[in-house]
């Protein structure tokens, strides 16, 4: 049965689009059929991060308004044949998205794919509300930083009240994905710890993605980090997270500090 999963956060710049691309690619690589939808109308970027920016013809709003059929708007990934993208509109107003229209599209996508990943825009406005509206599951992207944790808490409150599932008295299954985790700073007590974040948000952990140059490098070349450098630490963390989404039990790896020469000489321990 198809699963609709929203990747959300409230706060901007925490890694929603990067994570949507990476999780989508990881799920597709393990044989699932996946569509990723960009809900950030007017500021689309998922196409760019996935390297499909030059192949966008129709978009989500064209489909909502009946200008294009779903099949015309879906873009197949160049690397993975079971990974598809439904881009956001770059020119239209975000008010062109309607609850009814989004519901219709999600319902249709449910019949064609195993996973429907909705990349939410930042904020708590219409686009963000519609991205989570029909979700069965949610991945809440959180940075180890006060403003991000506060916004995640707010979004968790909305997932529990404003979604179709919540209105039917059911629950959206929620997971926290911690991104941009810097083990060295965490060890020095300069960054909220994983335990702090989980205790505050009271939501299970899906994975910990370390801060890494590989993430930027992947987006530079338009490739999900899981495909661009599969051996890198963030790629492995995303693959593990995707396996957990598929119901597997995978040991959680807490990124540890890489010890440089100076650290070794000073006998500093990794956390």
């Amino acid at each position: 049965m198809a699963k609709v999963l929203v990747v959300t956060s409230g706060k901007g710049g925490v890694g929603k689009t990067t994570s949507t691309a990476a999780l989508g690619a990881a799920l597709a690589q393990s044989g699932e059929s996946v569509v990723v939808i960009d809900f950030d109308v007017g500021l689309r970027n998922l196409d760019l991060v996935m390297g499909a920016e030059r192949r966008v013809v129709f978009d989500l709003i064209n489909v909502v308004q009946g200008v294009a059929k779903l099949q015309q708007a879906l873009i197949r990934d160049k690397r993975l044949e079971n990974l598809w993208l439904l881009p956001a509109s770059q020119t239209r107003d975000k008010d062109a998205l309607t609850d009814e229209g989004v519901g219709r599209i999600i319902a249709e996508l449910r019949t064609k794919f195993d996973w429907v990943l909705c990349d939410s825009p930042a904020g708590i406005e219409r686009g963000a509300m519609l991205a989570m509206r029909y979700a069965d599951e949610a991945v809440i992207i959180t940075n180890p930083e006060v403003s991000s944790v506060r916004d995640s808490d707010r979004i968790i409150g909305m997932l529990d009240s404003k979604t179709v599932k919540a209105e039917q008295g059911e629950r959206v299954t929620k997971h926290v994905l911690i991104t941009r985790y810097d083990p060295a700073r965490a060890a020095r007590g300069e960054m909220l710890s994983i335990d702090d974040i989980l205790e505050i948000l009271a939501t299970p952990l899906l994975g910990i993605i370390p801060e890494s140059q590989d993430v930027l490098r992947a987006s530079n070349v338009g490739s999900p980090v899981t495909l661009n450098n599969a051996a890198s630490a963030p790629a492995r963390a995303y693959v593990d997270a995707a396996r957990r989404l598929m119901g597997e039990t995978v040991d959680m790896i807490v990124p540890s500090e890489r010890r440089g020469l100076m650290n070794r000489l000073l006998g500093r321990r990794a956390a």
Binding site: E145, V146, R150, G157, G189, E190, L192, I200, R268, A271
Partner: protein, 99 residues
């Protein structure tokens, strides 16, 4: 142990515990407000209604502020009224036989 030494030398306190404590206090409060109508907006509206029964007011000049302290909080209502306000509404209303 080595981490504590490191902190000693760097002469800096870990800031993460402060972040954690601030968040816990803030979120406990914000979660309580969720789904409630905006308290400040309601207060402002009702105070405005009561006062303007007697004094002609510019709604723009009414400020309601809530300051949350660790043990007590203060509610501050700041209403700017024009000089000679006693003469304005009530008296005008009396003269016209409304008040």
């Amino acid at each position: 142990m080595s981490m504590n030494l490191l902190r000693l030398f760097s002469n800096r306190k870990a800031s993460a515990p402060v972040a954690r404590e601030r968040l816990q206090i803030l979120l406990a409060h914000e979660r309580g407000l969720r789904g409630q109508p905006d308290l400040l907006a309601t207060l402002r509206e009702e105070i405005l209604a009561v006062v303007s029964r007697h004094i002609q007011l510019d709604p723009e000049k009414v400020t309601v502020r809530l300051d949350r302290g660790p043990t007590v909080s203060t509610l501050e209502v700041d209403i700017e009224v024009p000089n000679g306000f006693e003469q304005t509404k009530v008296h005008a209303d009396r003269r016209s036989g409304v008040g």
